[in-house]
């Protein structure tokens, strides 16, 4: 009978298999629990408490009054970098899929092995008003141009975006190129027979067939940019808007205001989580 079947206790072999499965998953679950879930709830709770431990919303009202522009700035910088990054990645990966060049591939994968801090420092030295780039230009053009009149790229949003894009390019290239290489040559040859050039092969064949990989790459890149600290710390503009991680660092180290720092942390979690949910909702189902 149906009822007796559902009520029947698990047989010994099924429960053993279940235990074995649970044991295998346990370390991973524990790591997620200890490193992500616990700190998240800890931050969440602390962000609603004041110094004496009473429940309050003042941390949020404080950071919203202080840092709304920084929040928008952070999201804006991350989205702008992401768009530029995706365009570059797709074009590069598409080119490399069709015209194999291990030299170009190597060149663009170098940033994978350069730490964030170093990228930040390199960019600030390279792009500063009297930095390597401008000094070289002055030298090559025989003092024809004056670096003091050039816009300062290094210490502006443009410098920040340039550094973030360059650093993340290697990793997203790795992900997207892998997916592009998985595409059967037959599709590409067929489209070539209909006269498609490199760009159309990328747009019409490669991108639609690698939606998932591109989605994963964008969510990973976006969250990594939202949470990036080293590059803004090396390049940051302490006068204008800052990224949220700089505010978080400042609240902890200089103001000892852990409530506000936790509130900023929760906001960044939510923004990153938004990206992940968007990914689950749309990309992974496509």
């Amino acid at each position: 009978m149906e009822t007796s079947r559902t009520l029947r206790p698990l047989s010994r072999s099924t429960s053993l298999a279940w235990l074995a499965g649970a044991a295998m998953a346990a370390p991973a679950v524990a790591i997620v629990g200890v490193l992500f879930i616990y700190p998240f709830f800890h931050s969440l709770i602390a962000s609603f408490q004041n110094k004496s431990g009473n429940w309050t919303l003042e941390n949020y009202s404080f950071i919203f009054s202080m840092y709304v522009r920084d929040m928008l700035f952070t999201v804006w910088v991350s989205l702008l970098s992401l768009v530029i990054l995706l365009v570059l990645t797709v074009l590069l990966a598409g080119y490399l899929r069709l015209h194999h060049s291990s030299w170009i591939e190597f060149m663009f994968k170098i940033p994978l092995f350069v730490p964030f801090v170093v990228v930040g420092h390199a960019v600030r030295v390279f792009l500063a008003p009297h930095g390597t780039l401008n000094s070289a230009l002055v030298f090559l053009t025989g003092n024809w141009f004056n670096p003091d009149q050039m816009p300062s790229i290094a210490f502006s949003t443009a410098g920040l975006v340039a550094a973030l894009v360059w650093k993340n390019l290697a990793f997203s290239l790795l992900l997207v190129l892998g997916a592009f290489r998985g595409i059967n040559n037959g599709y590409l040859e067929a489209s070539r027979n209909f006269g498609a050039g490199t760009i159309w092969q990328i747009v019409d064949i490669m991108i639609p067939m690698s939606k998932g990989a591109i989605g994963v790459a964008s969510v990973l890149m976006f969250t990594s940019m939202i949470g990036n600290f080293s590059i803004p710390a090396m390049l940051g503009n302490s006068g204008g808007n800052q990224v949220l991680m700089m505010d978080l660092y400042y609240q902890i180290v200089y103001q000892n205001n852990y409530g506000a720092a936790n509130a900023i942390g929760v906001i960044s979690y939510l923004v990153s989580m938004g990206a992940a949910i968007y990914y689950l909702r749309t990309v992974s189902r496509a």
Binding site: A46, A128, P129, N237, S238, G239, Y254, Q255, N256, Y258
Partner: protein, 409 residues
Amino acid sequence: MKKIAGISMVLMLVLALAAGCGSKTENTSSSAQNTNQPAPTAADAAQTKQPEKAAEPVALNVATAGDTNMAELQEKNVAPDFIKNHAGTTVNVIGTGPGDAGSQKIYEKLKAQKDAGKTEWDIDVAVVHQSAMKQMVEDGLLEKWVPMSANKDLVTSSDSKNSLGANVEGYVIPMFHSQVAIAYNPDKVKEVPASFDELVKWINSNPKRFGYNGIKNGMSGVAFTTAYTYWKTGDYKQLTEGPFTKDLEQKWPAVMKELKALPVTYTNGNNGTLDMLNRGEIDMGPVWVDMFYLWKDQGRMNPNMRLKVIEPGLPGQPMYVVIPKNAKNKDAAIQYADFLTSPETQAKVIVEHNSWYPGIDANAVLPKVSEEGKNKLFKDVTAEDLSKRGLSFPLSDFLKDLKTSYEQN
């Protein structure tokens, strides 16, 4: 998160200390050389009860806040000379990290040992920032060791008595005094501003050529903002000595708006200001005097650059030598602290090697400094500048609100 960071820090400290305590070397009594100590303390009493204890080698634990250079200073420049005259003593140096957070770690460690009811604390000597002093004194974590010090007559500066409004007299001897000054490029700045009035005029007629790091990226920018506020409000006395009252802060939004309306370049840190000055991207900016000279010594800074402390003055800050109340090796700790604050060490290590201003009476230190060292340190910022225009930072509550006010306006 704070708790976890605190616990892991404590664990690291304990490990570091345990690693250092394990060494057993040939012993020499340290308390034997220290018969002139007045005021028998708990530790002394313990030692008289157990005379065999004096025969054990002493492993002194010196904790210092500050960047890696602070730990290196103790390890490389002070401890080796100290050990030479104190055979059998070993010195373990523990760096607790840069900024006020580093001092906070020392406070938390001592507080935890006190709360746990320990009678022997494992930090013997600590070097801390001003910000930690109020808590440390109020929580009874420190020994009033200055009266027992050989250098007690040389402790004359005002910051040896008052630390951001906290009365620290007797508990501290400043290890050094560090000063913020306006660095400038004499090739570009022909008429050097002598006051904030003139500086503001200069900034307005030379847009973007003055650089500072706001308040988020280092203390030289905070010092500049603070000095600007002192100048505009004229409230220096109450801001630095108290009492704390929110009324004074009502003037600040207007001051901050004015300051932030100036056409300046924002740099990305103490280093950033020096960097941009050196590359010629700015012509002037507030810097720490010691960092400025360090960069010059290392050949990273154009040697022509000069310094000036303008009217009505700029803040500086000391770092303090303190001894925890229940330090395990208190006699040796006092000897070490005495060595650190002696005119000889101050001259050799603090002034000549690190370009700091001495923590004790400069009159006792300067005769021991080489002509070269004196010329370097006192060429641009004279002793008179320091006594007249070397200001303090405001009380910690004021400073915190001042930074928030800067952000909000």
